[in-house]
């Protein structure tokens, strides 16, 4: 096991109450695997990535669990050690709308080189050399190193953000909706790029998206998140052919497909508030298969590619 997340919790304290954004999440990834983290907005996807990266706001109420990276429990590290040794060095991040997060007055090359200089103490010249190499990896002409972000198109800026995340040779990269603001062709281009990078370097990826079609472009493993919990974790091959959890099924059938003529369905209702999630199964109010057992917390049932949390799957 390369990345092991076990019983991870992240709660926020707000005026309305405690928000249980990440509520006992566990999953494992092998080196070089890509996991897609899918779910509706507000289900805790981004909070999970923030919990792993320890990029926390001030109003944290509960933050605990185990995150083991190549054997090291990085949750035990103090903040200083985490900053020096883990964040952006072993685990890096492509934030949501990263293409708009670049500093407009700093040259592209300097921005890519910055994490190396700050986190690894590399000299500026060496860092710039590495930045040039990364521009090449993400398919941007190397002479763009001296350009400013406004001179680049949206797709190119997104690639710069990916280069920034890769410059320190991290072991894990978390990408939060890296293509959701892009046009179809640009998105295909970036996805091609990520596929190429995976061939060149053995990268472990957590890919957050709400677009299930896009997730199938990257994922070896799929984790479905609902109301702060992972309700299904499965091999991509199993997941896209035979999802196990009712929510996963509905989510998959709600995707409008281009090539197959099938009327997409929609899931009635909306996700519950994370302040007071329903007891028992959190999906029960929207689930067409609900029965009396669902009032109790569902068991984690092993399936042939992973696990799912649902009473229906329990062997009688």
């Amino acid at each position: 096991m390369y990345l092991e997340v076990k019983n991870l919790y992240l709660y926020y304290k707000t005026l309305k109450g405690i928000v249980k954004a990440v509520d006992g999440v566990s999953f494992n990834l092998n080196k070089g695997e890509a996991m897609a983290l899918i779910g509706e907005s507000g289900c805790g996807k981004s909070s999970l990535s923030r919990a792993i990266l320890r990029l926390l706001p001030r109003n944290v109420h509960r933050y605990e669990g185990v995150v083991r990276l190549n054997g090291d429990n990085i949750m035990e590290y103090d903040d200083e050690k985490f900053r020096r040794e883990v964040r952006w060095i072993r685990i890096s991040y492509v934030p949501q709308a990263a293409m708009n997060a670049l500093n407009p007055v700093i040259k592209v090359g300097d921005q890519i080189a910055e994490p190396l200089i700050i986190h690894k103490g590399v000299s500026k010249n060496e860092a710039l050399e590495k930045a040039a190499k990364l521009l090449d990896i993400v398919n941007i002409p190397v002479d763009f190193i001296n350009r400013y972000p406004f001179e680049l198109s949206g797709g190119m800026r997104q690639r710069v953000a990916i280069a920034m995340a890769l410059v320190t040779d991290p072991e894990v990269v978390i990408m939060d909706e890296p293509t959701s603001a892009l046009d179809v062709l640009t998105q295909a281009n970036i996805l091609n790029e990520i596929k190429d990078i995976r061939k060149k370097i053995n990268l472990t990826i957590i890919y957050i998206t709400h677009d299930i079609s896009v997730s199938s472009e990257i994922a070896d493993k799929v984790a479905v998140m609902y109301a702060g919990e992972i309700v299904e974790f499965n091999d991509a091959d199993h997941f896209f052919k035979e999802p196990q959890h009712p929510y996963s099924k509905l989510l998959l059938y709600s995707v409008p497909t281009l090539r197959v003529d099938r009327e997409p369905i929609y899931i009635k209702g909306s996700p519950p508030s994370l302040i007071n999630p329903p007891t028992g199964c959190r999906f029960k109010d929207r689930c067409p298969y609900r029965f009396d057992k669902c009032e109790e917390s569902p068991p984690k049932v092993s399936t042939n590619g992973g696990f799912a949390k649902c009473w229906l799957l329990e062997k009688r």
């Binding site: 179809v184 079609s213 199938s216």
Partner: protein, 330 residues
């Protein structure tokens, strides 16, 4: 129920945005809509698909006459609305509705749902107070914001994104228009809500025999919504035809790329790479001569595609494509 006949006829429509550079600098034109032809039957749903910057939103706003076209003709139900002004324009507004992309931005935050929905009726002097309230109730029921009493006195921020978009839809149909322009009506919404809102819009369209122009970048949702698709690239419509035909039998190289780039959920996707054309859409200030796609097109014919703009070629009676390669190949 369906009365037939042309609702909208657009010929050679041009809409350029003017940009001035500096105080004494010259004028530049962004050729956002350039020689667009388009027909819409009564009660028909037509989709216009394009990437950002292709001019699809400008086309929609020009049809609504939020912009005045530079050239061409817009005939709405036999009425030439190309250059109408003042009272006439106001009369035209009554027969058209607009659904924007961002529902929250489209709703005034300081007005209640009731005030928001009543306003168009007041402006167009439709009905007395009681009739107006009755109409507000009716449209809210139609967009399934029920029980109506729960919503009517709320402010937009108290509603979810999907509910806000329903209010926008309700507002767009409250004057009983004949034409709705829906500009990316669901792209800000969550995937699971999108289908719900689109289906609602489709039901309303069928019930009222509305003409809808659905503007989007997302090809996969259009199939369920519209009878016909037009593909727009750099200010021009490059291909058009019945939805299923354009999707399953695309002819323009750009359309082919667009369809090829869109994944369907399939675990084998991760092992393949998508064929993407080189480069990016051109600037509309100085678009390429000839076919606007030619600099990125692998099939471009030298001395033809880069000089002369392709005309209409018909794949069959309803399906057209503007491409020299297709025309020469026959």
């Amino acid at each position: 129920m369906a009365e037939n006949g042309k609702l909208l006829e657009i010929n050679n429509l041009k809409m350029y945005h003017v940009i001035r550079k500096g105080l004494f600098g010259g004028r530049f034109y962004v050729r956002a809509v350039d020689n667009v032809d388009l027909n819409l039957e009564k009660g028909e749903a037509l989709a216009i698909i394009g990437e950002s910057g292709s001019g699809k939103t400008t086309l929609g706003k020009t049809i609504l006459r939020l912009y005045e076209p530079l050239d061409g003709k817009i005939i709405f139900d036999g009425w030439d609305v190309t250059h109408i002004k003042g009272k006439e324009l106001k009369r035209y507004r009554r027969w058209t509705g607009f659904i924007q992309q961002d529902p929250y931005g489209a709703l005034p935050p300081f007005m209640t749902i009731k005030q928001i929905l009543e306003e168009p009726l007041k402006i167009h002097k439709i009905g007395n107070k009681e009739e107006r309230i009755e109409r507000v109730h009716r449209v809210l029921e139609e967009v399934r914001l029920t029980p109506v009493e729960d919503f009517i006195n709320k402010y937009p921020h108290m509603l979810s994104g999907g509910q806000q978009q329903r209010v926008v839809i309700a507002r767009s149909i409250i004057t009983d228009p004949k034409l709705i322009i829906a500009d990316e009506p669901v792209s800000m919404l969550d995937a699971s809500v999108r289908i719900e809102v689109l289906r609602l819009l489709r039901d309303i369209q069928k019930k009222h025999n509305l003409g809808i122009i659905y503007i989007s970048h997302d090809l996969s949702t259009t199939k369920y919504f519209s009878n016909r698709i037009h593909i727009m690239y750099a200010g021009k419509i490059v291909e058009g035809g019945p939805s299923k035909e354009v999707i399953h039998n695309p002819q323009h190289p750009y359309t082919k790329y667009l369809i090829n780039a869109l994944p369907d959920p399939d675990p084998n996707n991760r092992f393949i790479k998508r064929d993407v054309p080189p480069g990016e859409p051109p600037s509309l200030i100085n678009p390429p001569q000839g076919c606007r796609f030619h600099p990125r097109c692998p099939l471009s014919i030298k001395g033809l595609c880069d000089l002369k703009e392709p005309g209409y070629t018909y794949v069959n009676e309803n399906h057209f494509v503007k491409c020299w390669y297709y025309e020469k190949r026959g």
